[in-house]
């Protein structure tokens, strides 16, 4: 487990960093957070600040895209007048 630890960061610090990032991403996507999670973000405001700039700028989950309908109307002869 220690091999996986980032040099200079304890497992706990990694955990906090990752959780802050996940929670910020969740907020960006419009999801709710639990009161504990909101408190977590408040507690680690410094980490939040450093992670904010690293979040992707584009929209992540906007649901299904708009789709055109193909109206290939079968050619019907009009009544000639």
């Amino acid at each position: 487990m220690n091999r996986e630890e980032a040099p200079g960061k304890s497992p706990e610090e990694m955990y906090i960093q990752q959780k802050v990032r996940v929670l910020l991403m969740l907020k960006k996507m419009g999801s709710n957070l639990t009161p504990n999670e909101e408190a977590f973000l408040r507690n680690y405001a410094g980490v939040v600040h450093s992670q904010m700039s690293q979040l992707p700028q584009h929209n992540i989950d906007q649901g299904a895209e708009d789709v055109v309908m193909a109206f290939s109307r079968s050619e019907t002869e009009d009544r000639r007048q």
Binding site: M1, R3, E4, A6, P7, G8, K9, P11, M14, Y15, Q17, Q18, K19, R21, V22, L23, M25, L26, M29, G30, S31, N32, T34, N36, Q54, P56, I60, D61, Q62, G63, A64, E65, D66, V67, V68, M69, A70, F71, S72, R73, S74, E75, E77, D78, Q81
Partner: protein
């Protein structure tokens, strides 16, 4: 005396007595004589009034002013009969004259001297003025062939006469056949390049008659390169000429892809759009709109028409008084609309279409909803404009009036779905649906009988509506949640029946995987509301959502991870999720290249691991390190790469097995005991779990 023989009116007893009183008996014979003489005169006057000498009159026999005599009554029919007989006599004369003249005229039309040819053509043209002689001409193949030759070989004046002759002959079927058989079509097509207007007019009109009434004419005109000659004629300025030319193009291109491509290659779309923009002769606009309608189903012509400004030009005529023109323009616009999603300058058209949503006419509603659906697709400007023009309310009313008519309902719902997402006014639109009482009507569309394209569109719309917090309760009250869950179960069952990811289940052209994705996506957003969340959980949906994490469809994975993420906000649901063995697939999903999937998966793992040991949290953290930071070079630098990859893979497998085994209490009672085989345990749990779910939530 009935009067049939004498023409005298019937004399009644009292009249007879009176007449006896007026005329003494000794003068009766003289009176009869006088009546007999005037009878002939009366008949002659009735039948041949033109023979009466001025001042001449006959002895009147009408005694009752309200009752005509028999002669008077028979006057008009007898004159008609007389006229017919005169015509017959003249017809006979004309026919005989023409019959005698045709062989000679045929020879003269082939004379070397152009003056002779010209004179012969003039005479032939004269002969075509009378029906009898015209018939004789068209019954002579040699004569028609000679006229066709003279059309091409002669001077302009001769050509004009010859063209006039062919035009006259083309009013009868016999004449059309004669022209067709004599090679008239290629000759007439060549004459479309004539510098003489009258030749041009006669030629196009004759060709038009051939195209309308002569079998085989269309093929012959195409083979003679008729289209290539006709399209340039669209630059002429005579509206009536243009009307005939466009009608010819319509006749030739209807159902013939090659013809449509030839029209395209010769600049047809631009010329046709120009006509729509610059003329106001109704018949011309109608015939031109018909050509555009035919071309609008051609994938190559479609963008050309749109690029030439076709949408705007057609939109100009949607408020006119000609219903046939309005309808043709609408159908054409509908066909073109999927190629026009990026067109600018459609503000006026969009506003007219919103107004037309108020129509009760089915064709108009079908077209207006279809065009609006496509023009609002991925176009934020159009979406905003339609919203600002009252489009949301109008579309809701269209849905209400459409009933079971899918051709109106589906595009209307699609348009609402577009308006409620991905633009600055989306939230306004989401609120507007609720404020205009649209939620119950829209939710009802999820009911039976299922027309899957409408269901798919409605599910997407409900998902968008749920993004607005104020809509959550109305959606719940309208019964959206149980309808969505039942649809999800049904669609999922259908996909499972095939049992292979390679095969896809289609119903009404919609894949059931799309319904699964759509329903789960809608439930995901609905689950943002705490009461809705509880209702969704209470319907025993968690095992199904966990199973959907294994779907081969990425979007299904995303929405199921998303809904689990929301449900996991509640502690009880988090425990259920954990109990269903969600940790294993979620760990896999941490590595998804899709940021949404990875985030949701991580969030669920965090939520179900809140009460777990620090070892567990560390394992989650390790997995997260290898996923969330892989696109983040700075963070990745902090992790030792070489050893981490191998170790984490091994660790991942170990963690997978570890988590799978420590699933704790089952949600449906004891599960099959095969704890040493993680893979089979996973599969057997899922199929058993689903059976329980279906048992608890039978599909109506």
């Amino acid at each position: 005396d009935s009067g049939i023989q004498s023409g005298a009116t019937t004399v009644r007893e009292e009249d007879e007595t009176e007449s006896n009183k007026k005329f003494p008996t000794e003068n009766t014979t003289d009176l009869d004589g006088q009546y007999s003489l005037t009878r002939a005169q009366r008949v002659r006057a009735a039948m041949f009034p033109e023979t009466l000498v001025e001042g001449e009159s006959t002895l009147p026999t009408q005694t009752d002013p309200d009752q005509q005599t028999n002669v008077q009554r028979l006057a008009e029919p007898s004159q008609l009969l007389k006229t017919a007989i005169v015509h017959l006599i003249n017809y006979q004369d004309d026919a005989e004259l023409a019959t005698r003249a045709v062989p000679e005229l045929t020879k003269l039309l082939a004379d070397e001297d152009q003056v002779v040819v010209n004179k012969a053509a003039l005479i032939v043209n004269q002969l075509t003025r009378k029906e009898a002689s015209r018939r004789v001409l068209m019954q002579s193949p040699q004569m028609v062939a000679a006229v066709v030759r003279a059309l091409q070989a002669g001077d302009l004046e001769t050509s004009r006469c010859a063209a006039s002759v062919l035009h006259s002959l083309s009013h009868q079927r016999e004449g059309l056949l004669a022209i067709f058989k004599s090679g008239g079509i290629p000759a007439l097509v060549r004459m479309l390049s004539s510098p003489m207007e009258s030749v041009l007019f006669y030629s196009i009109t004759t060709l038009h008659n051939l195209l309308l009434h002569q079998e085989g004419a269309k093929m012959a005109v195409r083979l003679a390169d008729g289209l290539q000659r006709m399209v340039p004629l669209l630059k002429k300025t005579n509206p009536k000429f243009l009307a005939i030319t466009t009608d010819c193009l319509q006749l030739l291109s209807y159902g013939n892809q090659e013809s449509k491509l030839i029209i395209l290659a010769n600049g047809g779309p631009e010329s046709l759009v120009f006509i729509m923009r610059n003329y106001n002769y109704e018949k011309l606009l109608w015939t031109t709109s018909r050509v555009l309608k035919v071309l609008s189903v051609c994938p190559s012509n479609k963008p050309a028409i749109v690029d030439a400004g076709g949408m705007q030009a057609l939109g100009q005529h949607l408020t006119g008084s000609s219903q046939r023109l309005v309808q043709n323009c609408l159908w054409t616009l509908r066909n073109l609309s999927d190629a026009a999603t990026k067109q600018e300058g459609l503000d006026g058209l969009l506003q007219i279409l919103v107004t037309q949503l108020g129509s009760d006419e089915l064709n108009m509603l079908t077209c207006a909803t279809g065009i609006l659906s496509n023009l609002t697709c991925n176009n934020a400007r159009n979406k905003a404009l339609v919203c600002q023009s009252g489009g949301v309310e109008a579309l809701i009313h269209a849905v209400l009036r459409a009933g079971q008519k899918e051709d109106v309902c589906e595009p209307a719902v699609c348009a609402l779905r577009h308006l409620t997402s991905r633009h600055a006014h989306a939230e306004l639109a989401q609120n507007a649906v609720r404020l205009h009482y649209g939620i119950p009507a829209i939710t009802k569309l999820l009911g039976q009988p299922y027309y899957w394209p409408v269901v798919k569109a409605t599910v997407g719309l409900i998902r968008n509506l749920a993004l607005c917090p104020a809509n959550q309760a109305p959606l719940r009250e309208a019964g959206a949640i149980p309808r969505l869950v039942n649809l999800l179960l049904k669609a999922h069952q259908d996909t499972q029946r095939l049992g292979s990811s390679a095969q896809q289940t289609y119903q009404d052209g919609v894949r059931m995987e799309e319904i699964v994705e759509g329903c789960t996506g809608a439930l995901h957003i609905l689950a943002r509301d705490p009461i809705n969340r509880g209702e969704i959980s209470s319907m025993q949906t968690i095992p199904l959502f966990v199973q959907l994490l294994y779907s081969y469809v990425e979007n299904v994975k995303r929405v199921s991870a998303g809904v689990l993420c929301e449900l996991a906000l509640d502690k009880q649901s988090a425990e259920l999720i954990d109990a269903e063995g969600a940790s294993a697939p979620l760990m896999e999903l941490l590595h998804s290249p899709n940021e949404g999937i990875a985030t949701y998966a991580a969030a669920v793992l965090f939520r179900i691991s809140e009460d777990k040991s620090s070892d567990y949290r560390k394992r989650v953290s390790v997995e997260l390190t290898h996923s969330l930071f892989k696109h983040d070079p700075a963070a990745w630098e902090m992790v030792s790469e070489a050893n981490t990859h191998l170790a984490s893979t091994l660790l991942g497998i170990h963690v997978f097995m570890d988590l799978a085994l420590c699933t704790g209490v089952q949600s449906f009672g004891p599960s099959p005991n095969c704890s040493h085989k993680v893979g089979s345990m996973k599969l057997s749990k899922i199929s058993w779990g689903q059976a329980q779910l279906l048992k608890n939530n039978p599909i109506p």
